[in-house]
C-alpha cells in the first residue's frame, strides 16, 4: 500500500448517558470537535467523504439514515455520506473504509464519525438488541446473549490456563484507574481489589452477570460519539491542516464462524489473530514494536485473549503479566490506557472510532496527566464484532 494516510483531527464527547439527546446531534457535536481540532471548520466542505459508524440506531432510537441526518446538521451538503454497520466493530470498519476511499484515489479527506445511543431503551431491551447480532436460530432463539458467550469463554480460559476471578478483577482495577483520569470515560471512578474481589462483601458489590463473569468483568451500557479526520498526507489538501498527522500504519480485518459452537477450538479467536497479523504485515511491524494497545474488553477476559492472539503475550500467559502490573500505564506494555470498554464505556457503533481517537491522543502526547504512556511510537487497537466473528485491527504511528 503506497498511500500515506494520517489522522489530523479528533473529536470525542464524554461517554455516558446521552439518552435525552438526538443521535445525529451527538455525532455532529463530536464531528465539529474533529473539524475544529483539524482547523478546517469553515472549510468543512473540503471533506470528500463522510462515513458514519453505527450498529443499531433503528432498534435503539427508532431512527435510520443517520449519516444523512448528521451531514445536514453540520451544514456540509453535498458531501457524500454513508452509514457503516458491522456490529460492535462498525467504528473500526468505518476507519478502514475511510482509509480505502483515500487509498483508492476517490477521496483526499474523509470524516469518520462513530455514535450510538443505547440508553433510550431499558437495560433488558439493550441486552436483547445487542443479542440480535447472534445467529437467529441457533443462538439468539435459544436465549443466548453476548454476556452468555463471554461467560462460557471465560470458563474455558480459566479452566485451561489457571486464570482466576481475582485476575479478571485486577484488569477492572487497572481499567478503572485509567478511566478515572480520562475526561471522556463513562465511569470516572477508581475501584479497589479489596472492594471487588478480596473482601467478604465483594460478592455483593461485584455480583455475577454470566458466571464466572461479574459486573466488574463486564462493560457498562453506554452512549457516546467520537470522530476522526483522515487525510492523504501527500495531497495538496494536507496543507489545510494545522496539526501534524498521526499516520495509519496498518489495518487488518477478518471474519470467523457466525456460530461460536462451530469453531474447532472455542478458545481460539482466529479473526483476531488474522486481523492482527495483516495489520502488522501492512505496517512492517512486529508485536514487539507496539508501545501500547486499546483492546476490546467488553468482557475483561477478552483483554487477555485478544492480547495473546495479536502476539503481545504468550498464549495463556497474559494474566500473569496483569498480576505483575505490566499492562498498567507505567508497566512494560500499557493496555487500555483510556480505561477500555470496561471504564470508558462501549457505545457499540462508536467504540472502534473511540479506540483510534485514544491512539491519536497518546501518540500526540495529549492524554491527561497520570495516564499518558511514556514516549509511545506505535499504538494498536482491536475492535471485536459479534463474539469475534468480525474483527478489525489498526496500528497508528508517530513519525
Amino acid at each position: 500500500m503506497s498511500a500515506r494516510i494520517g489522522i489530523v483531527g479528533i473529536g470525542h464527547i464524554r461517554f455516558g448517558n446521552s439518552s435525552e439527546y438526538d443521535l445525529a446531534d451527538i455525532m455532529a457535536y463530536a464531528a465539529t470537535d474533529a473539524l475544529i481540532d483539524a482547523g478546517i471548520l469553515e472549510q468543512r466542505r473540503e471533506v470528500d467523504q463522510v462515513f458514519v459508524a453505527n450498529m443499531a440506531s433503528g432498534l435503539f432510537c427508532h431512527q435510520s439514515s443517520v449519516a444523512s441526518s448528521m451531514v445536514s446538521k453540520l451544514d456540509m451538503e453535498p458531501v457524500p455520506a454513508e452509514t457503516v454497520e458491522n456490529g460492535p466493530a462498525s467504528g473500526a470498519s468505518a476507519v478502514k473504509l475511510g482509509y480505502m476511499a483515500i487509498a483508492s484515489g476517490m477521496a483526499d479527506v474523509v470524516l469518520v464519525v462513530g455514535g450510538e445511543i443505547m440508553r433510550k431503551v431499558s437495560g433488558w431491551e439493550a441486552t436483547d438488541v445487542v443479542a440480535t447480532m447472534l445467529h437467529p436460530e441457533a443462538e439468539y432463539a435459544m436465549g443466548l446473549t453476548l454476556p452468555s458467550f463471554g461467560g462460557m469463554f471465560a470458563r474455558l480460559y480459566m479452566d485451561k490456563y489457571g486464570c482466576t476471578e481475582r485476575d479478571l478483577a485486577l484488569i477492572a482495577v487497572k481499567d478503572h484507574d485509567n478511566g478515572a483520569l480520562n475526561k471522556y470515560a463513562h465511569v470516572q471512578a477508581a475501584c479497589t481489589i479489596e472492594a471487588i474481589a478480596d473482601s467478604e462483601t465483594a460478592g455483593v458489590v461485584n455480583n455475577y452477570i454470566a458466571e464466572p463473569l461479574r459486573i466488574y468483568s463486564t462493560c457498562p451500557v453506554t452512549d457516546g460519539s467520537c470522530a476522526l479526520l483522515l487525510v492523504n498526507m501527500d495531497s495538496p489538501k494536507a496543507k489545510l491542516f494545522k496539526k501534524k498527522p498521526v499516520r495509519i500504519a496498518g489495518i487488518g480485518s477478518a471474519t470467523d464462524t457466525h456460530c461460536v459452537h462451530n469453531r474447532k477450538d472455542p478458545l481460539r479467536l482466529d479473526a483476531v489473530r488474522i486481523a492482527g497479523a495483516k495489520a502488522y504485515k501492512m505496517a512492517g511491524l512486529n508485536p514487539g514494536d507496539i508501545s501500547f494497545a486499546e483492546l476490546h474488553d467488553a468482557f475483561t477476559v477478552l483483554e487477555l485473549a485478544i492480547s495473546e492472539e495479536i502476539g503481545l503475550f504468550e498464549r495463556g500467559k497474559a494474566y500473569l503479566a496483569v498480576r505483575k502490573g505490566e499492562t498498567t500505564i507505567k508497566g512494560r506494555l500499557p493496555i487500555n490506557p483510556s480505561g477500555g470498554l470496561k471504564a470508558k464505556g462501549h457505545p457499540v457503533g462508536a467504540t472502534g472510532v473511540s479506540q483510534v481517537v485514544e491512539l491519536v491522543r497518546q501518540l500526540r502526547g495529549e492524554a491527561e496527566e497520570g495516564r499518558q504512556v511514556k514516549d509511545p511510537k506505535y499504538g494498536m487497537s482491536v475492535n471485536f464484532g459479534g463474539f469475534g466473528n468480525n474483527v478489525v485491527a489498526i496500528i497508528c504511528a508517530k513519525d
Binding site: 431499558s122 437495560g123 433488558w124 431491551e125 441486552t127 436483547d128 443479542a131 445467529h135 436460530e137 441457533a138 443462538e139 439468539y140 432463539a141 435459544m142 436465549g143 443466548l144 446473549t145 454476556p147 452468555s148 461467560g151 462460557m152 469463554f153 471465560a154 470458563r155 474455558l156 479452566d159 455480583n207 455475577y208 452477570i209 454470566a210 458466571e211 464466572p212 463473569l213 456460530c259 461460536v260 459452537h261 462451530n262 472455542p266
Partner: protein, 126 residues
Amino acid sequence: MIDFSMYDVKVPEIKGYRCQTCGTVHYPAPMICSKCSTRRDPVTGRKWETFNLEGPVTLLTWTRVWNLPEGYNVKYLLFGIVEFGNGLRASGRLGVENPVIGMTLNTRVEESDERPGKPVNVFVFE
C-alpha cells in the same frame, strides 16, 4: 373417540443437515457444503437430507446468566455448548443445576415463546 391427529400436534424438534453428495453433516443449515461445495436449496432441499439432533451430548463449557434480556421472567438460565456423537456442536439451555465440563447430558427440544415473534424450538440439555 377423539381423533388427536386432526390437531396437528407436533413434537418439537431441531434439524441437522446432511449433504448427500459427500455425507458431511451441518448445524445450523449452511447454504454451501463446507467440504464439497454442494449448494443447498432451502426451498426444495434437493441433494440434502435432514435429521433430528438428539441423543447424548458432551458438555464443552457452560455459564449461568443472571442478566437475561427482555422477555425472560426467571431469575437465571444456564447455557452451554455441547458436542453430539456425530461431531456436530450446538449451543443451548442446560437443565442441570451444577454442570461439569465433560459430563454427558441428554437432548430435549422444547418450544419457547420468550423472545419477540413466533415461538421457536430450543435445546435443553439435561
